[in-house]
Symmetry: C2
Subunit: 154 residues, 2 copies
């Protein structure tokens, strides 16, 4: 996935783009993961879950988290389990529908996340330092159109 095209011909430009995209995101992701570990003794998946919850003070269902983070249900279960056991998150059974549970950041989780998020934003700014703000906006615009074409087919 991270290697170059194996032949030449038409349609290769999209393949090259995909490989660049993947290499860029993997490189940055690896660096962020390492810093999260070293500086805050946490992981990217935990950060992702906490970031989602931080934006939803009212809480999120497990399936909301799963959908939003683009990962499987079972995956979220494990990550939330660990966050709960660390006191950063709560899982509250709902009266209305007892299949679901509302997941929320605790006070401690919220404080903890705010500190990590500030550092995280700085790191991203640093790692993408040679992309101008103007260029960043243009790239962002281009990337927005990626999904619309095919997702949600079936």
């Amino acid at each position: 996935m991270v290697a170059g095209p194996t032949s030449v011909g038409p349609g290769k430009d999209r393949l090259r783009l995909w490989i660049r995209l993947l290499r860029a995101s993997r490189t940055i992701e690896a660096e962020l993961r390492e810093r999260l570990k070293k500086e805050f003794d946490t992981t990217l998946p935990r950060f992702d879950v906490m970031a989602a919850l931080y934006r939803s003070p009212e809480g999120m269902l497990m399936s909301d988290l799963s959908r939003f983070l683009l990962v499987s249900n079972g995956n979220v279960t494990g990550i939330v389990d660990r966050l709960v056991s660390e006191g950063l998150v709560t899982r509250a059974r709902r009266n209305g529908d007892r299949r679901t549970s509302m997941v929320r950041l605790t006070e401690e989780g919220s404080k903890s996340f705010a500190a990590i998020a500030a550092a995280h934003e700085g790191w991203v700014g640093e790692l993408l330092g040679n992309v101008s703000e103007e260029e960043a906006r243009r790239l962002t615009g281009m990337l927005k159109s990626f999904r619309s074409n095919w997702e949600g087919r079936e």
Copy 2:
């Protein structure tokens, strides 16, 4: 990591870009992974390793693979183990330096990869279908400059 910025202010454009980039690559990666599984009963990491080896008929060292694919040494060990057990790859001890081993695709591995790679290229073309070839080239160019700024610091 996949959530939006948690506040507004200067420097947010790079954070937005990073989030878009990550969402785009995760979405596409998930779709490719699913198709590799369904159509060829294989995985993305296996595909990555085979793609790297396909481009190096003379073979690669474990550490070459690790560096090229941006993953840890131990990770490559496991994936190559499984590919060897499936007869797709060989690991040959070298006379010159007996710490190292040269990893190569077998005949079967090479044939198998060629078929998967053809399908893979088609999928990428499809998934990035609403990015024009021209736009793909421009985006690729922009992404090239990502790493140079900070990586290789040591």
